[in-house]
Symmetry: C2
Subunit: 390 residues, 2 copies
């Protein structure tokens, strides 16, 4: 037999764009004994998980559940359920994930109109309003937390505009959920989806999603079947709804982990979690500023959990990231797409958003930068972060 | 805050249609610390997992990997990649999963022709050959191990016929893999997919899948994009292939579990595993026969890992299954579709295929049957099973 070595993963500090650092309680939950997917106890756990998801997603939407796949499948579930071939969809693109939504929508047969902002910027309500006026789309898609740029898109006003125009609003909250307010009901958003591996600090593998009643009705009014059997919410509703009819075999242990992760978020309280993310983000920002490193996203529109920063001139991207990984076990993210080689993405997500991690990543970065360029003085960044904590 | 009780799953003996009993080593692997999905160590683990999958699936196919979702998504991945709108697909239906494949294919735009056999029976090569002659389909779909009926479909000869006719052959090996031979290359099958939660004894959440070079070329020749972004193997090939380009965030910990599960299968050896499944199936069958319980699938076509048996007259289905669960923590499966209320499905899958489980489920069933009808004598079934072990 060919040799397959025992599994022995290295211990990492996950300070990249996700997966984030996993709370130890979540890993323990993950390994609890598996039960059947129609076990009475599991059906109850599904109920509890749905209730916990509604709390975290700030919604009363009945169709709030977890797609049995990763965050990108959440995006696909949102789009393929709402869109029938020929439907018009407007997508706001200011990074990788907006562009991905265009691709997903085109594959679903949508006539896609995209509007663009430069990477790192966000959309003003007026430009979205103008595009809606022009296109009259059935659905509008926007990314609240653009993981490729660190930009925080305000969606409050855009949601109102979409609603007034009678459009269905799809919000990508993959990186947002648990780190900044995702106010599904207050915004009257129609589909909001996320991923388990960002600010919920759960391993990747599930995509929390919520459909408004209006969205569910739109799915029920479809003339064509949803192209994906696996993601069809009219089928999923029978499993996650009151019937508990067999659809597919749910990823039982991942549900354990998600439930435990949601409990941890709710124990802390959403407002406390948001404040903690903001405090650590500001301290990290002060430390980075002391190093002369600037953010990729515009001021006032920066995500607290995903700090995308411009790599200083003359610094070797790969060498720094390799040094972080090999010396400290720290993972930060490189740039994606237009930002490849130009940007680092430092995640302080969920359980990973801790003072200890802020100090650690600053101290480690400083050391590596100073090695490449002696203009980077040692010690300044941690002091600046400490001062920001006050 | 609303109360969310601590996670405390009951301990079950999973002797149903899956998820199967999980090997303790697999649960331990599942809870190992999460790493990033582009971590050099994780990329290596993906390589090793692909190599292990190729061994278990008996193939050299380069595009052998695990879909980041459950077994049904494996079916969807097989179909949506091969089928373009208007393509003809022939599907052989003798249970729930064949019927599901028709639905999936229709949603992908296929012109589906289905041929049917009564539940519990299997297809003869001649009838598939005649249908291929008549329909001239691009693809033929067949279920090797029909989990709803316990029927074992021989695919060897049918594969030859499909190949000679120039059709792409899709084989559902969800329940088969690891329990009976799945000879992907010898059959020259084009797409074979499975699930992690059957004879691999891993929690649900991943769908092993293998595409032949011929299938990959068919995908490359498509005129239209694959309807699903998430399942498009031309994109997935860049992540699972040599580029390791970011596609979606892989379910890291589930990959740990699958890798460990595959290691366990390969340590035992496929042939040994198949023999073990057969031995325990025969002993269970002898025990059930002593109780006067007969199989739903025809003689000579019974799956060793999924024993679908007809519920004896006068016996209350739910009361027996409730008794098994509450008194012994044993889960067996009820009937699906046409077999609802008429059939039990006793799984002896992977790690769960053990002499101890055969004796336990027989003894427990006997007790519950005797309580409902004193004609069921006590003690006979375990003795019969013991005799079958020899």
């Amino acid at each position: 037999m060919e040799h397959f070595p025992p599994l022995d993963p290295p211990i990492r500090k996950l300070l990249g764009p996700g997966p984030s650092e996993i709370h130890p309680r979540v890993l323990t939950a993950l390994a609890r004994p598996t039960v059947g997917h129609l076990d009475p106890w599991y059906l109850q756990l599904m109920d509890q998980t749905q209730r916990a998801l509604r709390s975290v997603m700030q919604t009363q939407n009945r169709m709030t559940f977890a797609v049995s796949a990763t965050g990108s499948a959440g995006m696909e579930a949102a789009v393929v359920n709402l869109i029938e071939p020929g439907d018009r969809m407007l997508v706001c693109v200011n990074g990788v994930f907006g562009a991905r939504m265009c691709d997903v929508a085109e594959r679903a047969g949508a006539a896609v109109t995209r509007i663009d902002r430069p990477w790192g910027e966000t959309f003003a309500p007026e430009e979205v309003a103008a595009a809606i006026d022009r296109v009259r789309p059935k659905a509008v898609g926007i990314v609240q937390a653009e993981t490729s740029t660190g930009a925080h898109q305000p969606v409050d006003e855009i949601a109102r505009i979409a609603r007034d125009a009678g459009c269905l609003l799809v919000i990508d909250a993959v990186t947002a959920l648990g780190g900044v307010p995702v106010e599904t009901d207050r915004w009257q958003a129609d589909v909001v989806y996320s991923g388990s591996q960002k600010c919920l600090s759960c391993p990747p593998g599930l995509a929390p999603i919520s459909f408004s009643e209006r969205a569910v009705e739109a799915v029920q009014r479809r003339k064509t079947k949803v192209a994906s059997w696996y993601l069809d919410i009219s089928l999923l509703a029978n499993y996650w709804g009151s019937d508990r009819a067999y659809h597919h075999t749910a990823p039982i242990n991942m549900t354990y982990a998600l439930y435990e992760a949601l409990r941890i978020v709710l124990e802390e309280g959403l407002e406390n979690a948001f404040r903690r993310h903001l405090r650590n983000h500001r301290a990290l920002g002060a430390g980075l500023e002391a190093l002369g490193i600037r953010f990729a996203a515009e001021e006032g529109r920066r995500l607290p959990m995903l700090n995308a920063v411009v790599i200083p001139d003359g610094i070797d991207d790969l060498q720094v990231r390799k040094g972080l990984l090999e010396r400290y076990g720290i993972e930060i993210g490189g740039g994606l797409g237009a930002f490849k080689g130009r940007v680092w993405r430092i995640g302080l997500m969920g359980y990973g958003s801790q003072k200890a991690n802020v100090y650690l990543v600053l101290a480690a970065l400083e050391e590596l930068l100073a090695e490449q360029n002696c203009a980077f003085s040692r010690g300044s960044s941690v002091a600046a972060a400490a001062a920001a904590y006050g």
